[in-house]
Amino acid sequence: MWETFIIEPMTNLLLWIYDLLGHGAHTFGLAIILFTILVRLITWPLNASQVKGAQAMQQLQNDKEWQDIQKKYAKDREKLAQEQMRLYKERGINPFASCLPTLIQFPIIIGLYQSIIRAMASTPLDMLKLARTVYTSLNVEGIIPLNSHFLWMDLGRPESINLLGFAFPTLAVIVALTTYVQSKLTMPTSTNPNDQSAAMSGMMSIYMPLMLGWLALNFASGISVYFITSNLLGIVQYAATGRANWSSLLPGGKKQAPGKK
């Protein structure tokens, strides 16, 4: 199931793009970038709904009626939950709309990682698996083995640059930075001191860059190329809405009320 619906289509799509680009030096990296752009385009409506959902949730947190309800039912969690659901319904808020795209990212990330490793085929057994994965319509004999070099990287291995005898993980740092920037930009600041979700979002904006940075540090650098491209596209997509909170990138940066441009 996973193999048929995730790994095989992804691997074949990557190989197809690689072939289309002329399967020369650096083209596998470009294929991953194009693949990411394609994924971003496909999930664009979902991402837009995520942004919208997050904004709606944030606006609710700063809503006078909701804050009054929180105070009123501070000791009755059941009633509070009922009132929360009522408000969601009244205002057409889907509380899961903002986390669905995040959940969708996971099969893509895991599938992409496995597809990159599959396409690289660094051992005979991997090559045999690749032979079983490619569709007959793809003339794979002419393009394998893939050229795994992209810029200074070997996309099948974790990346680092030797600086004064120290292996500096450039991509991992860029992944962490772009993830941080993206999460900070898309995180409107709440004015409600009791807003748990704002506190959680703040925590996630630290946790996520660290987690993705760790993945980039340890995994094939092809996955880092995916993360960076995806983050940059996410930033561009959010900036295009005009809601990016650039001042929040700086420590003590100016707070912005939700929904304001």
Binding site: S122, T123, P124, L125, L128, E141, P158
Partner: protein, 357 residues
């Protein structure tokens, strides 16, 4: 904490667990390598190289004695004329070691560690030198003490097969789709012949050239001067090294077809012979039989007319090329109940070997 927050945390935790399960490095896994001398079989399988007594099927020694996370053995072991067992590691340090086949101890004080890639193929010993092909695209030239005996020969493309020699030139098949003809003394490339697909197996030296199979689903004949001639096309990739036996060339493809080509006439000796699965391992021609190991895990003995004399279902898959050792035929299945089995010519099982943990 609301449902959304819990869901997000759960999702990230699951993701971290999933990705963590993939392991941090590129997963290195492959089928075993196998070689034998008159007394012992040598099996490279995972953390160890095992020496197995051919008479009893018992383990004589294992190398290293304790598992070392930096060493991983799947390459084909190679026995030199002066009694060394050479093998490269697919582990993190790409060590190329020499083992004493009698004791299982290191011959060299320090293994050769100059390669950047994995070791998959066995080396070639020629004129007192070791020519060791690596997946980093270089052939490393060492003396029999493990010291560099010349500059590495840059081939290009990963090297998964042993070089072959006609006594003057060296023939190197590469995944870069080319057969390289190299002067072994100077390391200078004399010819590069495009074969249209990656070449995972060794060329076979014939009278005035070499036969070579490729992922281009064909067998080519390349003369010493570098001219290429199509011998036969196959329905699928030709993976295992072809076998030349007098005037007959035996080979198989990934569809599981077994071919017997009469070279003087250019005609196939058989009609369609297709056992039960794809064939990756080199065929073994020994006496009046042809031994075929399939991915479906069956080991066949065919006669010269392609009739099945006997067959054994070993379980798992068989990718490792079978080896003849004295009166025994050795076969190493992948992911089977045992790691190695020995049969006599009549198909009677002499023993099986399963490493103790």
């Amino acid at each position: 904490m609301n449902k959304k927050t819990i869901l997000v945390i759960l999702a990230f935790t699951m993701g971290a667990v999933f990705l963590g399960a993939c392991s941090g490095q590129v997963p290195i896994n492959n089928w075993a390598g196998l070689a034998a001398d008159a007394n012992r079989a040598y099996l490279s399988s995972g953390s160890f190289v095992y020496a197995i007594d051919l008479g009893t099927g018992e383990e004589v020694w294992r190398y290293p004695q304790e598992a070392d996370g930096k060493l991983l053995f799947f390459a084909t072991p190679y026995l030199t004329s002066d009694g060394q067992l050479l093998i490269g590691s697919q582990g993190t340090e790409h060590a190329f070691v020499s083992i004493n086949p009698e004791t299982g101890r290191d011959n060299w004080a320090n293994p050769f560690s100059g390669a950047q890639g994995l070791w998959v193929a066995a080396p070639l010993e020629f004129n007192g030198r070791i020519y060791a092909p690596n997946t980093d695209g270089f052939i490393y030239v060492l003396d029999l003490n493990g010291k560099p005996a010349g500059d590495p020969i840059e081939i290009g493309g990963a090297l998964w097969s042993s070089p072959a020699t006609d006594g003057t030139r060296m023939y190197v098949a590469s995944l870069d789709h080319h057969l390289h003809i190299v002067d072994p003394e100077t390391g200078i490339s004399q010819q590069e012949i495009d074969l249209g697909g990656a070449v995972p197996s060794s060329p076979v030296v014939a009278e005035d050239g070499v036969y070579v199979g490729s992922f281009a689903s064909r067998i080519d004949y390349v003369t010493f001067s570098g001219s290429r001639e199509l011998v036969e096309e196959a329905p699928n990739w030709v993976w295992g090294t072809p076998v030349l036996d007098d005037d007959t060339l035996y080979y198989a493809d990934l569809d599981g077809n077994i071919f017997s080509l009469d070279i003087p006439t250019g005609r196939q000796n058989w009609g369609a012979v297709k056992p039960d699965g794809p064939v990756v391992a080199r065929l073994l021609v020994d006496g009046d039989k042809i031994f075929v190991a399939t991915e479906s895990g069956t080991f066949y003995a065919l006669d010269r007319e392609s009739k099945i004399v006997w067959e054994k279902e070993l379980g798992g898959s068989i990718y490792t090329s079978p080896v003849s050792a004295g009166d025994l035929i050795l076969v190493a299945p992948y992911k089977s109940e045992f790691a190695l089995a020995a049969y006599d010519a009549q198909g009677r099982q002499a023993w099986t070997f399963t490493p103790e943990k």
